[in-house]
């Protein structure tokens, strides 16, 4: 039974589109946007109604008109967010006392912290902060730098849509690191001055970072109590709390035991190519490490450099450091990815397979493609099929309206498109096993027409995840099913793919086998093959009509089979 929110949403299906839109569209593009009406300018003003004791002040701060820290959602890159607290940050021209403030500065843009209600010098301050505020986009692992004149600052993170308790954001004196699952949060700081403690809220969005696998070194910094361990590579940065440890200061010792443990979440893992050198820094006296599972470790190579081992896989990397005053252990989630197939690339160090690869697999299971206005580069020219199809990671830069298109050389009747919008894109398509081509296409480039680049690659099936539907007859002995299989909008639909094909194909013999084929691990597998005495004599690709079922979209058969549309 639908819940109330679902029922309410259904009402939107009846919302009528205003009649004027069509006429407005036919007027042509205006390009520069909507002329700002007066009320919109007013709306751009952040209005805080401040009630201070018996007096009432009005304070308005004009938001940046565009491009604030929460503005352009471009490719995220690690950054510092400096949060500055001022005891007298809000000045009023009426001669009344000032109020504390907090500002977050990211890439030269500043956002004010919200303070809906707080106590200050014996009075209760209420500020009207209603309305939605664009969250500040902060890449996972961003450094939070605390500045200003507050005596102490505590950081807390809250999911605004849940009632879960606030999570502590460890601040090591003047800084901390933002480690939270990508999503939207309120980042709250409690700033303490002699007069009072004031909470400030910043809406933020934690965004994941796409690793730059062309980076040369990984870096690990470890410092003693208050413990801090930060691992960074290729634009990624993760901070790990001390899972256990001890410390002695002024003759008194204490232990550190962090709750939790267990599996490190996917978002908190760092991707590093195998064999990557590691620069280790910090004030430790000694250290040792271990990659789990297995018995490998980061160790010195022949040249005396520390390097990650050569076995690709998903590891918990445990690092134990010691100081004269104590010791601590930190655990990082590290996905070591294979670089062995990058030798044909012009940037061998940037070649890697996806962290989704099976540990120990020698063949990359993700097709990695780079494409720009100069051409296309396949970083993994031999790729293993996964159970739900071919996994593709595409990086497209410098192209307008780009698309990645995949085509099997053996079953070239079907193309598989990416739906890319540029930048990084990951997708899965049921491209058949065998030799194939990947095309990179773009829209017209500055009036020069579309660009198209292509490169070969091969899909192999070491794990037997693909049920082959290629025909056991020569190409010149095959025939494609004519209408009604060709995009027939009125074709019969069925919930059952086998039934859809059985009722749509004529010439089937009693012992013919009609069965699903292709990638069986895909919930959307839409291929059905027909075999006769062990030989594949036909296959059908099914279209889908939401809510109705599947129907034959296209198909091929051996001429001698006698198969055809019913």
């Amino acid at each position: 039974m639908p819940e109330r929110w679902e029922r309410e949403l259904r009402k939107m299906r009846g919302a009528e589109m205003p009649a004027g839109i069509r006429a407005r569209a036919e007027e042509g593009p205006r390009g520069e946007g909507i002329p700002p009406a007066r009320q919109r300018i007013v709306a751009a003003t952040v209005a805080f109604a401040v009630f201070f004791g018996a007096g009432v002040f009005a304070w308005q701060a004009l938001r940046p008109t565009e491009g604030g820290p929460g503005g352009d959602p471009g490719e995220p890159a690690l950054t510092d967010a400096t949060v500055t607290f001022h005891e007298s940050g809000l000045e009023f021209d009426s001669g009344d006392p000032s109020l504390p403030s907090a500002e977050m500065t990211v890439d030269s843009q500043t956002e004010f912290g919200q303070t809906p209600r707080f106590d200050w010098r014996g009075a209760t301050i209420l500020m009207n902060t209603a309305g939605y505020v664009d969250p500040v986009r902060l890449p996972l692992g961003s450094r939070l730098v605390i500045a200003g004149d507050a005596d102490a600052v505590q950081g807390l993170l809250a999911d605004p849509t849940s009632r879960d308790p606030l999570e502590d954001v460890p601040l090591n004196g003047e800084h901390g690191y933002l480690m939270a699952e990508p999503g939207e949060y309120f980042l709250m700081f409690e700033a303490k001055w002699a007069a009072d403690t004031v909470p400030f809220y910043f809406p933020i969005e934690v965004v994941p970072v796409q690793p730059d696998l062309g980076d040369s070194d990984a870096e690990l910094s470890i410092t003693g109590y208050p413990f801090e361990a930060v691992l960074s590579y290729g634009g990624q940065r993760i901070a790990a709390p001390a899972s256990s440890g001890s410390w002695t200061t002024d003759g008194e010792g204490f232990g550190v035991e962090t709750a939790g443990g267990g599996r490190i979440p996917e978002w908190a893992r760092i991707v590093v190519p195998v064999g990557t050198p590691l620069e280790l820094s910090g004030n430790w006296e000694d250290w040792r490490n271990h990659l789990h599972p297995g018995d490998s470790q980061v160790a010195s190579n022949d040249h005396g450099s520390l390097v990650f081992p050569a076995s690709a896989g998903t590891y918990d990397w445990r690092m134990k450091a010691s100081w004269p005053e104590g010791e601590a252990e930190f655990t990082f989630g590290v996905d070591l990815v294979d670089a062995s197939y990058g030798e044909n690339s012009s940037e061998s160090s940037s070649v890697a397979v996806s962290p989704t690869d099976e540990p120990g697999s020698e063949i990359p299971s993700v097709l990695r493609v780079r494409c720009d206005s100069q051409g296309i580069e396949v970083l993994t020219p031999i790729v293993a099929a996964q159970s739900d199809g071919l996994h593709v990671d595409a990086e497209i830069t410098d192209l307008r309206d780009p698309e990645i298109r995949l085509r099997s050389l053996r079953a070239n009747q079907i193309e598989y498109w990416s739906g890319s919008s540029g930048g990084y894109d990951e997708f899965v398509r049921p491209v058949p096993v065998g030799k194939s081509l990947v095309h990179c296409e773009s829209g017209p480039q500055q009036g020069n027409g579309p660009e198209t680049f292509e490169a070969p690659f091969e899909i192999v099936d070491p794990n037997g995840v693909f049920v082959d539907y290629s025909l056991d007859c020569r190409d010149d002995e095959t025939v494609e099913f004519p209408s009604p299989f060709d995009f027939q909008a009125d074709a019969e639909t069925s919930q059952d793919p086998i039934e859809a094909v059985s009722t749509s194909v004529s010439g089937l013999l009693e012992d013919d086998v009609v069965e699903r084929a292709g990638y069986m691990g895909s919930a959307e597998s839409r291929f059905v093959r027909i075999t006769r005495q062990g030989a594949t004599i036909g296959w059908v690709y099914l279209g889908v009509r939401p809510s109705f079922g599947v129907y034959p979209l296209t198909g091929f058969a051996c001429v001698s089979s006698g198969l055809g549309p019913a």
């Binding site: 929110w5 939107m12 909507i34 939605y132 990508p182 939207e184 193309e415 060709d486």
Partner: protein, 169 residues
């Protein structure tokens, strides 16, 4: 479509050949209402912004038809962009100061939707009103599928709280 004597079918989406003319009239009739509802929700009920964003997106698509392979997705993305730019330019907090004329039957829903972020609103509407799957929502919004899931999860949870958990037949 036909290419070099071979029938070409595209998987995941049936494509019109890049050089073919697009039927914007049909697109407007069949897809316009869905685009409108999505952008209307995305703007938090800012009818004026949504109206202009949808119209501008269609206008730009018609003007650049030759270079667009997938006009529907293109229009969605332009409409999102135009709406987002306009909200940033002047209307980010406008819900509090500008009259919003929601149909009476949508009053409660729009009030609740305004408590969500724009992306949560858009994802919720594309999923539960326009009936798209996660992959298609990601394509039309121009964001990653995991991000769509996060927006949906949080949006639904928030709507449950705001509108109650009462079940109906």
């Amino acid at each position: 479509m036909m290419r070099a004597g071979v029938m070409m079918v595209t998987v995941e989406e049936v494509r019109i050949a890049p050089t073919a003319g697009h039927d914007f009239d049909r697109l407007f009739r069949e897809e316009g209402p869905g685009i409108w509802r999505t952008i209307y929700a995305f703007t938090g009920g800012r009818r004026d912004v949504a109206e202009e964003a949808v119209a501008e997106a269609f206008a730009r698509a018609i003007a650049h038809a030759a270079g667009i392979r997938d006009p529907l997705r293109w229009i969605y993305r332009v409409a999102f962009r135009v709406a987002r730019e306009e909200l940033r330019r002047g209307g980010g907090r406008a819900a509090e100061v500008e009259t919003i004329q929601a149909p009476p039957e949508l009053d409660g829903l729009m009030d609740a939707l305004r408590e969500l972020s724009p992306n949560q609103r858009a994802a919720i509407v594309l999923r539960h009103v326009v009936d798209l799957d996660i992959a298609e929502i990601a394509r039309r919004m121009g964001i990653a599928q995991p991000t769509v899931r996060v927006h949906l999860h949080r949006g639904r949870n928030r709507l449950r709280v705001l509108l109650g958990t009462e079940e109906v037949d």
